[in-house]
Symmetry: C2
Subunit: 243 residues, 2 copies
DNA sequence: CGAGGTGTTGAGATTTGTCAACCTACGTGG
DNA sequence: CCACGTAGGTTGACAAATCTCAACACCTCG
């Protein structure tokens, strides 16, 4: 949205304060008691600005850092041995990226900014070090990793057992909920990704996605003009998931 | 597949030795230096025997333990809000179960034994406690969690971008590789799961799975009689994945 | 103002699912 | 030890969902 000149900010000195960050609860510091927040803030060694279409990290990069999105929007993609490319997730402010590299396995996917974005950079080494001293952080880290595994399960259910219609409905409802939780409208928002990216994520072809948007519109469920989406009948969408 | 009377063994005293376990490398203790193995062995508080068709844990159980399979075979299933059921994985000796409950989120899936099985029970609390003192264990834990996330990505690619034929080929090749690594034949093994379970895992209907087995047989790729599988032409299967 | 990326729509092909019949192995109880 | 019931597996014919290919529309940006 706002598109700043982006001088690739690096906050070598810590102007970062988790304590005052309004995304704290969904971030790594969520659930960490106030008195420990200052120490946790030290994990954020730098900030980084990533321009639209640029990678935050790439599969194969030696992974050393976890990233928290302060602002912006990302997709993650996996490229299989045979060149198959698949979008594995969309991530917005307050969410974490780079979890699967934990433990030294290297990143397995690439994170690409879908708009100019701003992230907190948290080296694994610091997380582990400070985690040793702040048990609540340690626990939080594990919870966050566990939740990422669970997110994967949700996508497996989506891809493995839902019709195209249901997949798109589930996807839109998921976006809606996440925007809502962040204080944005859950019924009117911009789709930051192309139809093709939606299709890749949902295991559908671009034409199918396009047709479904049209069908949903005709069914009075939503209005959509290119990237601008208005959900008209949330419950109608939810009902689609029922069978 | 010896089937013992199974007195629900509980090794309150530690007759468990990670040091002498031939599955060590793939287990949680993998990569932990020999001198620390004894401490790591203390994580295994008990052993548990699970009979065929019985759950090791269920979604919603308060999760407190990670499980390592000593012998046997499991499936994990997720049941969505609307009752949709999906197999999210098959697990064999040396593999870990219950990772997503780490951090206190509770289990999100259920693990069901597909044959009488034997597992090491490792309470999260002990893992964390001993992990604080044995950094290699700590790192290993993170690696294992990261790998589980990556496994999820692989399934997303499979479900999101492969044809039915390719999914089944990929599945069989995956099983083959895992048996091979364990010292079993990679070309001749028993399918521990039903066609329906395969179908659920691959996002296919049972009839489709059945037809694919027939087709693969006719193409000279494999022989199959119910659960007994012989891969005749591994490279042929691999070639299927190419496009 | 033109080009290229993105999105939409239609017609027809293909893949996968559905329904129904039937077969086979296995375990149980007579 | 056999017979039968049942769960699991296969096959066929047909239906439905989704994909493919192709044409075109729209929007943005240089």
């Amino acid at each position: 949205m706002l598109r700043q000149p982006a001088p690739s900010v690096s906050a070598g000195a810590r102007e970062v304060s988790c304590a005052s960050c309004n995304l704290r609860e969904s971030c790594l510091s969520g659930g960490v008691p106030t008195e420990d927040l200052e120490r946790v803030a030290n994990i954020v060694s730098t900030r980084r600005r990533v321009r639209r279409d640029e990678p935050l990290f790439r599969a194969g990069d030696e992974s050393r850092c976890l990233y928290a999105i302060r602002s912006g929007f990302f997709k993650t993609i996996v490229i299989a041995d045979d060149g198959r490319e698949q979008v594995t997730g969309f991530f917005m402010a307050g969410e974490l990226l780079g979890m699967e590299g934990f433990g030294g396995g290297g990143y397995n996917d690439s994170a690409i900014a879908l708009e100019d974005s701003d992230v907190c950079v948290m080296p694994y080494s610091l997380i582990e070090e400070i985690g040793r001293e702040v048990p609540s952080l340690h626990r939080r880290l594990h919870a966050v990793l566990g939740r990422e595994i669970v997110r994967g399960h949700g996508i497996m259910v989506l891809l493995g057992s839902m019709s195209a219609k249901q997949r798109l409905a589930a996807f839109l409802l998921n976006l809606s909920r996440r925007y809502l939780r962040r204080g944005y409208s859950g019924s009117r928002f911009l789709l930051r990704m192309t139809r093709e990216e939606i299709g890749s994520y949902l295991g559908l072809k671009i034409e199918t996605v396009s047709r479904l948007f049209t069908a949903f519109h005709q069914d009075g469920l939503l209005d959509v003009q290119y990237r601008q989406l208005s959900i008209v009948d949330i419950q109608g969408l939810e009902r689609l998931l029922a069978d």
